[in-house]
């Protein structure tokens, strides 16, 4: 199962007017994994997510979802995808129960009992209007609705960006518990790297509308290291990602396997995810 591809993105580009939000993007997102989509604001994360679920068509290239080419807006596709949009929009005048009913009426599959159970465990009353719930509770309701569709792909766009740290942790806890015993593929965008490290096992990094890094997090960490040594201002090494210079020392983040031989002037250290992400986010074009 894990060798299957959930979303295949082929040379995809998306243009808004004259501006390319996403360009020349080729990705295979493995099925059954929790995939982090990382990038600065405006890097094209939301665009990529919307393309991946067919909320809009790409300007060029093609997307296939769960093995079939994606045609935007097709109900068969939409009912296989759970989507929690940025700021988890809900109808503010609807009660929680009415939101459940909305989803039940518009989807072929809907796990009403499971959704009610989850909301009860979270202490969210069904008869409360969604506009009167806290931000964290709204996010939980949006997640519950997406999960109740029993999707094969669950996509979350900055699900915790607007939440306080406590609500953030609660949300992630619900998410992990919900997907643990299923083979659902989760694709979530975020810029809270520490959260991602705990739950994600695959990562895609965008900068300036292009994919700069993609792969299993373990492989990515094993494939990079930090070299420390006396200061050099014009280091030209194979696979150099970024160089930071102290007064006497230089720290180079390089794309090299741990086993690669190094010049004796450098001392090699393993890299952590946060260093790796920051290095690629800062990288030059």
């Amino acid at each position: 199962m894990s060798s299957d591809v959930a979303v295949q993105i082929d040379r995809v580009g998306k243009r808004y007017g004259r501006h390319w939000a996403l360009r020349d993007c080729t990705l295979s997102l493995p099925a059954g994994r929790i995939i982090a989509l990382v990038g600065a604001n405006g890097a094209g994360k939301t665009t990529l997510l919307h393309l991946a679920i067919g909320l809009m068509p790409p300007t060029e290239g093609s997307v296939s979802l769960l093995g079939t080419p994606l045609k935007p807006g097709r109900p068969q596709t939409l009912s296989q995808v759970g989507f929690v949009a940025q700021d988890h929009p809900l109808y503010r005048g609807f009660t929680v129960a009415e939101m459940l009913r909305y989803c039940r009426k518009t989807n072929t599959r809907f796990d009403q009992a499971g959704a009610e159970g989850r909301l009860r465990d979270l202490g969210i009353p069904l008869n409360r209007r969604t506009g009167r719930l806290s931000g964290g509770q709204q996010a939980q309701v949006a997640l519950t609705l997406a999960l109740a569709k029993q999707p094969r792909l669950l996509v979350l766009d900055e699900p915790v960006a607007s939440l306080d740290p406590l609500a953030r942790r609660e949300f992630m806890k619900t998410l992990i518990a919900a997907v643990a015993e299923t083979d659902v593929t989760v694709l979530l965008s975020s810029h809270v790297v520490t959260e991602l490290e705990r739950i994600c096992d695959h990562m895609v990094l965008l900068r300036g509308g292009r994919v700069r890094l993609a792969g299993d997090i373990d492989d990515l960490l094993a494939g990079h290291r930090v070299l420390t040594g006396p200061r050099v201002d014009d280091a030209a090494l194979d696979g150099l990602v970024t160089a930071t210079h102290g007064e006497r020392n230089s720290h180079l983040l390089v794309r090299q396997p741990a086993t690669a031989p190094t010049h004796p002037r450098w001392e090699a250290h393993p890299v952590n995810l946060e260093e790796l992400v920051l290095a690629y986010l800062e990288g030059q074009d």
């Binding site: 109900p75 009912s79 929009p89 109808y91 503010r92 009426k105 989807n107 949006a142």
Partner: protein, 322 residues
Amino acid sequence: MLWVTWRQHRAALLTGLFLLAAVTVPTLVSGFAMHEEYRAAGIAACLTDPEARAGCAQLLDQFTAHYGQWGNRMIWVTFLPALIGAFVGAPLLAREFENGTWRFAFTQGVSRTRWLLTQLTVVGAAAAVLALACSVLFTWWRGPLDAMSSPMRTAAFTVSPGLVALTLFALALGLFAGVLLRRTVIAMGLTLAVYLTVRITLEETLRPHYLSPLVRTDAQKAADALPPTAWVVDEGLITTAGNRLSDGDERKILQQVYDGDTVREGGAALERYLAEHGLRHYTEYHPADRYPIMLIIEIGLYLGLAFALFAAAAYLVRRRTS
């Protein structure tokens, strides 16, 4: 989807029903009184018998004075389509885009086309039924007045079944403005502005020319030359050569005949002047029996506009990505 649509618009639907009930009661009360008076006073007989007409003048005047004022108030129903367009049509899509809920609605297992068609059908049918109920009620009420004057005058046209087409046009306009602008308040404003512009232009400029008006010329100004149910769209003076006088020339003649003073002696001096100079009166009018065809043309125009706007809105909804 049906339940979803009902849930999203039930407040508007209930408000519509409440408004309808609120105007039905006084309209029925005054309508029954008017119909009774019309029958009891024998006005119908006055109208059918030209001989009796002169003797009826006072009776007719009294009746018109009493109920005409009431009837003019019905002009408020022209606001019904505007209300539905601005408060139901415009927010229907604008609110989804403004609050971001379109990303929720369009990622459920229902295609955008079906989503929009269901909303359109339910809301459109409700608006049409409401408009039809109003038009039937007010057309019935106006019955006696329309027998006494042209049914094609503004108030009559407005409360006709044309109200249904006008309402659908306003609704489609609101939908289109909503998906185009994606801001509820701005879309409501644009809907009102365009609705009023289109309606006033159509009413003032186009409606008299749906069919070419008939023309008649009279040597003498004869008040009862045309039946009162004809719709006079233009009148003025015409030379023997068939040239119509401009408004300026007409004013000059009046100035000359009455020397800047008010018109005296029922205009006898003017008639003498016209006869001496070979000028005659002309009247452009639509006879009352043209009412149905004029109405059908107007309904066709509004339904055509409504359909085009619905189609444009559907096209934009399918394409919208932000």
